[in-house]
Every structure is written in C-alpha cells, then in structure tokens.
C-alpha cells in the first residue's frame, strides 16, 4: 500500500461531499423539484420516481434553533440544533464554532457550512462531520 492511512476520509452522512469545497447534496425530484437528503423510493410531494443530484448552497440563514442542555445518554451537551434556510432549501444541522447561548445564536443569523473531524477509526479512516458557523 502506497496510500497513507491518514488520507482516508469518510463523511458523517452520504449527502455531505468532502474535498476542496465541502457541500451538501440533495436528491431533487425531476418532476416537481422537491428536495430530499435521504435515498428515496418516490417523491413525498408528487410520487414521482425520478431524481437528480443537486448541490445545496453552503450559506444560509438560521430559521429556527434550540440549545439542547439535556440529551440522551452519550450525546454531549450543550449543542445548538437548528434549521438553516440555504437559498430556499431547509437543512437540519448544528450551529458550531460559536458559544451555545442565545446571545451568540440568533434567529435570522447568516451562517456558512463548516466541517470538523469526528475522529479516526481502527482502520485509519477519519470521519468528517458538518455544521454551520456564523458567516
């Protein structure tokens, strides 16, 4: 093996595209334009079965958020859970790289996609997560 183990990366979810310009992709219904982040059997809006990949804007606006201070066992708190409006497509994500309090996280705040390491597994693969940080 010539590849160094450290170069192997895997995204937290399959709709996160890594590389020079990390971004999210959605499955867009070719009939009605509805967008979904998971694999689809059919469209929830029009029942169409044809989809194409579309890139999602990496900047957006916080449409809603909460600061979670009590979570299920094993989930580190506090964290900010939010809904981000990325150019008309809603995205579920955490707000990161800013203190998790209502003085620093505001409705309508401009944010941009950011990635971070979740750690390296036993095979040397690094998992990369994403969140949105103040723009």
């Amino acid at each position: 093996m010539t590849d160094t183990a450290a170069s192997a990366q895997v995204p937290l979810v399959n709709y996160l595209v890594l590389g020079d310009r990390p971004h999210l992709v959605a499955n867009q219904c070719t009939n009605c334009g509805a967008r979904f982040f998971d694999r689809r059997n059919a469209c929830a809006s029009c029942s169409g079965t044809s989809f194409e990949k579309v890139d999602i804007a990496t900047e957006g606006e916080v449409r809603s958020f909460t600061i979670v201070t009590l979570a299920a066992p094993g989930v580190p708190v506090p964290f900010v859970a939010a809904v981000i409006d990325c150019g008309g497509t809603s995205v579920r994500a955490n707000i990161i790289n800013t203190p998790p309090d209502p003085d620093h996280v505001k409705l309508g705040m401009r944010v941009r996609l950011a990635t971070y390491s979740l750690g390296t597994d036993d095979q040397g693969t690094e998992a990369i997560g994403f969140g949105f940080e103040p723009a």
Binding site: V10, V62, T66, T69, L70, G74, V77, A81, D121, A127
Partner: protein, 401 residues
C-alpha cells in the same frame, strides 16, 4: 345517512405514579369506569379500540378483554404516537357512524412514570471501531446531537422558535408565562399528576432542557388511562333520560396527517395538519373558534401551546402572542385553554392523553367539573398531535335533552 354519535360514558384515572398497577390494570380501571359512567357493560359493546404505545405489539386490547369481558367483538389495537388515544376514539366513532355497531369502547393507557427523555435514541458508550455507512442517510455514527436533535424538547422548542422567526420574535418569558398559566390551572384538578403553582421566576430559573423550554415547560411523563363509550343517536334514544341528559354530542371527529411541504422532513411541521384538522372540524360541527367555551390543546411543551393558538384559529394568523398576552386563554379569559392544567402539569401518559382531554371537555359540558367548572360551557374542542405526524381534533357539544 351517517349516524350522529355521542359520548355515553367517559372517565380518566388519576394521572401520576401507579407502581401497584400494570398497564392492563390501569386500562381496566378506565374501561370499567367509562362503562359504569355510561350505565352499560362490555356485553353492550360492538367494538373495542385500544391504544398503548409502549407495548404496541403486545395485543393490549385482547389482554384487556381477558380482564373485563371476552365477548368476541372485534378489537383494533392502534398506535399513532401521541395521537393514539384520539385514534382509538376515532376508530370507534367511525364504526358507530357507519352503522356497523351501535356502541363501542375506546381505551388509551400508558405507564410512563420515570421514563425520562423521549425521542432521542442516544448512542452507544463509544463510537464504532470502524466508520461504516448505514441507514437511509448513510450515517457512519448516530447523528442525534451532531445533526440537530432527535429528542422531543428540542424539536418542539424549534417549533416555537420558528413561529417567532416567522411572525416576530417570541421571548423566553412569554413561553414561560404559558407554562405559568397551565400550572396555575392545575391547582384545581385533583386528577393532575402535578398540581403545584409555580411563579414565573421559578419556571424561568428551573433546569433548562432545550432552550427556551425549562423542565416545568415540558410535559410530565406519568402513568394514566382514559376510556370512552361511544353510542349512536338512535341507540341513545332508547336509553334512560338520565343517560340521554349526560350524553355529549360528538359534533366533529377529525384525524389528519402532515401533507408534504418544503422543510417538513427537516423539522416536523405540526402546524399545517392541525390547521387542516381544525378547518374540517369547524365545518363538520358548524361552529367557529368564537363559539368555543373551552379548549384542551396539545401543550406537550410551552413552545407548542403558542403555535396551536394560531393553528386552531383561536387568534388571527401571526397573533398568538397578542392572544396570550390579552389573557384570553386563562380560565377567566374569553377562550379558556387547558383548564385541566394541560400536559405540563396534568401529565402526558401518551395513549391516554387523546381521550383524557375529551373527558375534560365532557366534564365541563356536563356541569360536573366542580371547582374548575367553566360556567355555562356548551361547546368545547380537544386537540392532540402525535409527532410523525398525526393530529386529532374533536368538537363536543352539550346534549340538547
């Protein structure tokens, strides 16, 4: 011609901790109570619909029959998240309305005392040794806490915050005041799990669960059961005058799910399906929001109650904060909301909730609510939301007899 339907008998158990009773015991207590209240027996029932979410695959309805009467009637075991009780009731209502049976029993029960946080699955103690994609999103590790929150307090916190973003920011204090109202109302309800009044400061300074919901602003997990006997109008007319006098007319019975909208698979949209259910219910009943003498709505969190003032059209669109600040939803206001204390203090034994809120309305319409009676109540509305989502809305009217 579909039959008019009435609630003939209805009851709820004390909500709280029942360590000495199992799920079947609690369900049996409510079922036998409802039959007794209606002056009928299991042998009069043509259908049983039974709701219990925590043991949804256990055949709870048949277990119940074995304790209170195995008469051979069809049992529908239903599960529909927090709308399970309303779904059981609606199942019986549909059967009676269709003319297939003239009487039926709906039961909802849950043992939830000490259940803790609902919705978040949590993670294994340590992450996997090998990052391997799985599931519909190809996630290499659980996403709760990394991509938003799966737990209920934070989900419904975002529902309230989103309302603020859409219509003008809602303060933490306003949400806390809604909780202050419901806890104040609960002091008059002997069946509530908690009936302690809190000051606004106590509510705001209590443990934060998911901003802006502190602990007293979250529904209380507890044990409880509720049951109702539904009867057709033609059957009711053959019963005693006393039974006819206490019977409550079901003017509307509606169940909806969430229609597709942008973002609805990102944050559950609890608004549109409630608004749709309310619209259909008002049409069916031929009444409007102004005609309601009291409303029991699904305040699973203080942040949820606010948006449902709007969704049930108790106020003009976007006017929920003004509606609340006017004092309207207090028990002496123009549209009393959650005079039972609501889920935040009465408690939320999931499958019981959608029948217990009907019981609360019936109690007032019958004039039997004692210290917390809303005087002269003639029309009431009960609403529940089960996340996922399902919404039940029932409108009830005092019997004309």
């Amino acid at each position: 011609m579909a039959e008019n339907v009435y609630i003939l008998g209805i009851t709820m158990t004390k909500f709280g901790k029942h360590p000495d009773k199992d799920t079947v015991d609690l369900g049996a207590e409510a079922a036998l109570g409802a039959l007794r209240d209606g002056g009928v027996t299991m042998h009069d029932m043509g259908i049983l619909a039974a709701g219990n979410l925590m043991n949804a695959s256990s055949g709870f309805g048949q277990q119940l029959q074995k304790q209170i009467g195995q008469t051979g009637i069809p049992v529908y075991n239903v599960a529909n998240a927090c709308a399970t009780g309303a779904t059981a009731l609606r199942t019986v209502i549909m059967a009676v309305k269709s003319g297939e049976v003239d009487m039926g029993l709906a039961v909802g029960v849950e043992k939830l005392a000490g259940a803790g946080l609902l919705g978040g699955g949590g993670r294994a103690k340590s992450d996997a040794k090998v990052w391997e994609p799985s599931g519909r999103f190809g996630a290499v590790t659980p996403t709760d806490g990394r991509i938003g929150t799966d737990a209920m307090p934070g989900t419904f916190a975002q529902v309230g915050m989103e309302y603020g973003h859409k219509y003008g920011e809602v303060s933490f204090e306003t949400f806390a005041k809604i909780s202050e109202k419901n806890h104040a109302h609960s002091t008059l309800n002997p069946l509530a799990a908690y009936s302690k009044r809190f000051t606004l400061e106590e509510i705001m300074n209590d443990m934060m669960i998911a901003y802006p919901n502190t602990r007293p602003m979250c529904s209380a997990n507890c044990d409880g059961a509720a049951a109702a006997v539904v009867v057709s109008e033609s059957k009711l007319r053959t019963l005693s005058l006393e039974q006819q006098r206490r019977a409550i007319k079901v003017s509307a019975s509606v169940l909806t799910t969430d229609p597709y909208e942008e973002a609805c698979q990102i944050l559950p949209n609890v608004n549109t399906l409630t608004r749709n259910a309310a619209k259909i219910a008002y049409e069916q009943a031929g009444v409007g929001p102004d005609d309601l003498d009291l409303v029991e709505l699904h305040d699973c969190f203080a942040t949820a109650e606010l948006v449902h003032y709007d969704n049930l059209m108790l106020c003009p669109e976007g006017g929920a904060v003004d509606f609340f600040e006017s004092g309207a939803p207090w028990r002496d206001g123009s549209t009393p909301v959650n005079v039972s204390g609501g889920l935040q203090s009465k408690g939320h034994p999931i499958s019981a909730t959608g029948i217990a809120n009907i019981w609360e309305i019936c109690h007032h319409l019958r004039g039997e609510a004692g210290d917390r009676q809303i005087e002269g109540a003639k029309v009431g509305l009960a609403h529940v939301i089960g996340l996922g989502s399902a919404c039940g809305v029932h409108i009830l009217e005092k019997s004309a007899v």
